[in-house]
Amino acid sequence: MKFFTPIYLLLTCLALPLFSIAQDAETQEKVTVSGYVKDGTSGETLIGAAVYVTELSNGTTSNEYGFYSLSIPPGTYKLEFSYLGFETQVQEIVLNKDEKLTIELREEAEQLVEVIVTSEAEDRNVTNTEMSTNKLQLNTIKKMPALLGEVDVIRSIQLLPGVTTVGEGATGFNVRGGSVDQNLVLLDEAPVFNSSHLFGFFSVFNPDAVKDVKLYKGGIPARYGGRLSSILDVRMKEGNNKKFTFSGGIGSIFSRISVEGPLVKDKSSFIVAARRSYIDILAKPFLNEDLQDTKLNFYDLTIKANYRLGEKDRIYLSGYLGRDNFGFGAGAGFNWGNATTTLRWNHLFSDRLFSNFTAYYSNYDYELNFGDQPDNSFDWNAQIVNYSLKTDFSYFVNPDNLVTFGGQAILYEFEPGNAVGVSEGETSDFSLPIKRALEASLFLENEQKINSRLSVHYGLRLSYFNYLGAGKAFEFKETEEGERKEFVSATEFGDWESIEDYINLEPRASVKYQFDPSTSFKLSYNRTVQYIHLISNTVAATPVDVWTPSTNNIKPQISDQIAVGVFKNLKDNMYVTSAEIYYKEMSHLVDYIDEADLFVNELLEADLLDADGRAFGLELQVEKKKGDLTGWISYTLARTERKVPGVNQGDWFPSRFDQTHNFSATAFYELNARWSFSANFVLNTGTPATFPTHRIEQQGYILPHISSGQRNNLRIPAYHRLDLSATLAGKKKEGKRWYGEWVFSIYNVYNRRNPFSIFFRQGNIRPTDGSPVQTEAVRLSVIGSLIPSVTYNFKF
């Protein structure tokens, strides 16, 4: 009950400005101009395009569906539409009644004579309330040097300040000291549980099908929730609604092909994009006969279609299917993948009330099997499935207020492991029971311009989680801090019976104060709550790690973050700079006892520890946006620590993803119309690891031993790497549809063996009786040489 008082209080606070807005709307007569901002070439809607009313010195931006709405007093206005990389367009409009105005912007490359240089969009980083947010244009991502020439969304964001990885091949990414499961990766609003192919080498997003990528590290709007550290919002293209285009690429790992075009001209369009790796096909002639059955491939398929039902309604259907397959002869196989389906309906209740309804399904599963005879085999699979219904409304009150509200319900089904072993024809099934949970949330937020200097964005999210039966609720007793808890009892619950529930309020707020047109100061606070947890205590998360809901023993993770920043643009927005400081406190993080057994363990919860975390840092970024030479430099000075009862005497110690210094530089250089070059350089402090101090001899074996028992007592050496790439664009000829480009890239140019980890072992020679056993430290480098590659991309 104690929750409800603050809820009322906060709702009242939120509602007050809304009432004043409503009054304001009534006292002054207003008309609305609304519509969509689109790419003139493909008809693709543009997200975050600026719409600026010159006479009022005020404006708005298009939302995730390209929709904008402005309610202003009647009059004659010049509306300026701008979007990065596109020519700014000015439209004069006489407004005395509600009007529809859909604008198609032309790409800058096709610039004509009458160019307007001033562009509202270019200084968005200074003028809007958003902070701790990075938006990467796909064009930028495509220009970066990529491992084996494969354009990669996840690897690109690792070059941004505050984003790190534990190493090459490690899945996912870490944001401001958070673990990989604390990032909500959304593909057209459906969560993707494993964002990687081939462990962490390639991400699951096909660059040909992605329109827009946005990463929220802090100042997270109330409409997003469910994860602690970040939101990676990936939006798929809708498909060209004017003409059919084909694009694709032939690379060293994948081949890609995508088709997009109108289904019904200007009403409906689609895109289908597919990729498949062909290491297995290429490797086949070189494999021994007994390895001929080796299966090694990964593929993904992205499909999206939309249909406009009229002026007010539009339907989108998108789907993703990706799979990694590995097999070793007939004897062993392993595969995993994600599948998502999203159905969305945009409806305009009025020119000022935009709504979206989403239903999605998302699934991540893996399967292991071995044994090629029916009477000696082992089969194993696990999955996490979720179904969700979601709605959000955008109410464009006036140019100074944009109210967004909505809600979501998610039903989770966790299958932690279905396993059947057959030994000499006798079967034994040791599957773990299914777990179910419901997550529901409501949110309300307002983006408000108080005056020309001050803007605020505030909101509240109410989240609720219910761990449901059928299942057993275990009770444990702590015997000693940091040790396995003792089993006390188990209570059986029936189907859909509530086992445990949690309710949380998540306030979010950001403030912007503008000193002058090119300088602003921002402040944000957010609380985020996470109800599902990835159980993993290895250096890099594995594809077989299991997700688990919050239960009576596992509490929801909670994080509070404060960030302040200064944003300054120089030389007419040629240089975009930012400096941010953040401080984050986290509670109920999942940690593990020393000998945790996380695999097929019904009593898993006895091996988990409830940890506190904190992270703080300084992030600096300078970006050059114009000219032949563009790019950015980012530097992060950070610390992320954990405090776990019974571990390291209960003191704070650096977490596995702590990197004191993290520096990266990315540069793009356009030599001429055909040649362009790019380079990346990264340098960061090695991550902490636990190294032994002593050896124990038992029955002739040598065991590592840490005399102090401390975790993360040392660090692996620093990581640095340089990548280069050159692109040769085909000649553009009038009337020629075929466009091709060659991309040459070198990853790890100066051939450094960056350590992923250091491990300790007995020497590789069989110990002989009586003589002492040699031990050694071994550096494991995932990529131990430079990797060149050539890719050919085409479009027609």
Partner: protein, 304 residues
Amino acid sequence: MKFQNIFFVLLFVSVLFPACQDVIDLDLEEGKSQFVIDAWINNKPEAQVIKLRYTSTYFNSTPSPKATGAEVVVTSSTGETYTFTDENNDGDYTWTPATGESFGGIGEDYLLSVVLEGKEYTAVSTMNRVMPIDTITYEDREEEQGDPAGIYAEFFATDFVGTGDSYWIKAFKNDQYLNKPSELNTAYDAGFTPGGNIDGLVFITPIRTGINRVPDSGDDAVDDSDQPPYKVGDKITVEIHSLTDEAFFFLEQALIQMTLGDQTIFASPVVNVPTNIISPSGEDNEAVGFFCVSAVSRKERMVE
């Protein structure tokens, strides 16, 4: 854990990125040396040895410092006492059964007492039941998936009905124990782990075939030429040592800790293996090591 190991090793070795490994020099943290008890005794009719040592720094490959001058006594729940003595003053404390006799009895509990420099360290264990080995078979195999051609063996034994039995399967080739960490073979009931609930069956295949020598893996592998696969004329010996739950868990953890490198980027962190030695001061890490009493079944077969 073992399933994961097998898969990821296979995967990583075969995947396009052959992870490279280099032996490097490293300075480790300093720390205090601790007392180590290495007490794994059994009912084989032979001398039983309890080794008392100290930990040495991790890279120190000289023999571990010996703890001499201790009093070592094992007492059974039936009141029998066994005194282990260090005749050679080398830290190896020995008790030798009379001809035709052996240590202890199945189902009995044992208390180990070690008095060193006036402090008493204790530990308890139980000699659990062990089943006989039914057969050892072998077959001639072609080269397959990295294993060279040769003779490969398999043994058959059936787990007792009722969960909670655990075993250490030791294989000897021509009386030489296959002692590489990757060859360490343990079973819980008929499967790998307690969670598996594979009870009362014949051991599952990977355990049955876990009596063959394991070749080195990794890109710096040297062919393990001193121990090729079995060949005609070799003697295969298999022993099953019964374990307590704690001892099984100890070996499981020891195996993980010794083979972390095989798990490439998915390695678990380095942690201390558990101990069942109770130190007098009550401090956890005063003494480390393990005490376990096993019953042993044994079978031999010549390759013909």
